[in-house]
Symmetry: C2
């Protein structure tokens, strides 16, 4: 299942798509899920690397692993092991180079969704 992607990482290695292999439909699909949208929003808010356990999600660990994998395989986040934890970080530079303004527009729309909806 691992097509020779082993490098010099301490633990296991993870497959990430090259910047040139990131596709817009896949990114949009990855961000079209509420759970993943909240993950990405949390990552963008901290601007740091977070382990999976730092998120409070309404799903189980298995599902969490699944969502992180979808985000990673779409090219939205980068994951790296550090001990038993796995740190997650947004691929802001890659996304900005490929789709300028897209991530910010989505994060803005997600973080401030009420301005045009009601007076709240």
């Amino acid at each position: 299942m691992t097509p020779g992607a082993s490098t010099a990482l301490p633990g296991r290695a993870l497959d990430h798509p090259d910047r040139a292999d990131i596709r817009l439909p896949q990114v949009l699909h990855a961000l079209a899920d509420p759970v993943r949208l909240s993950l990405v929003s949390a990552l963008a808010a901290t601007a740091a690397e977070l382990p999976c356990s730092a998120f409070e999600l309404p799903v189980t660990k298995s599902t969490c692993t699944h969502h992180f994998r979808v985000l990673r395989e779409a090219g939205v986040i980068r994951q790296a092991y550090r001990g038993t934890a796995k740190l997650n970080a947004l691929r802001r530079a890659d996304l900005e180079a490929l789709f300028p303004g897209l991530l910010d527009a989505i994060l803005t729309a997600y973080t401030a969704p009420a301005q045009a909806r009601r007076g709240a």
Copy 2:
């Protein structure tokens, strides 16, 4: 003004979500499909209302109807009958008010996808 184009349509009526009911995940999901992305791109390029038959799609009429319905129910386009034809138009103002910059970012990413992909 076009006769009877404001309140009651001459033929059948179509359900459109209110601006306040447009949801980001649904919009992203609607735009995550290559067929629908091409539809939206074509609509944005002409900045006019187009009938369904104006698009050359690799799918049948039934599938085309389905995709237009997904876009309409997500709040991305507005549809109106005119005779036997059905005109489609982007809901740019609504989308821009709810998700500033989102549509432009997606259209830019879709229309000019090769600039940052050089060397691949």
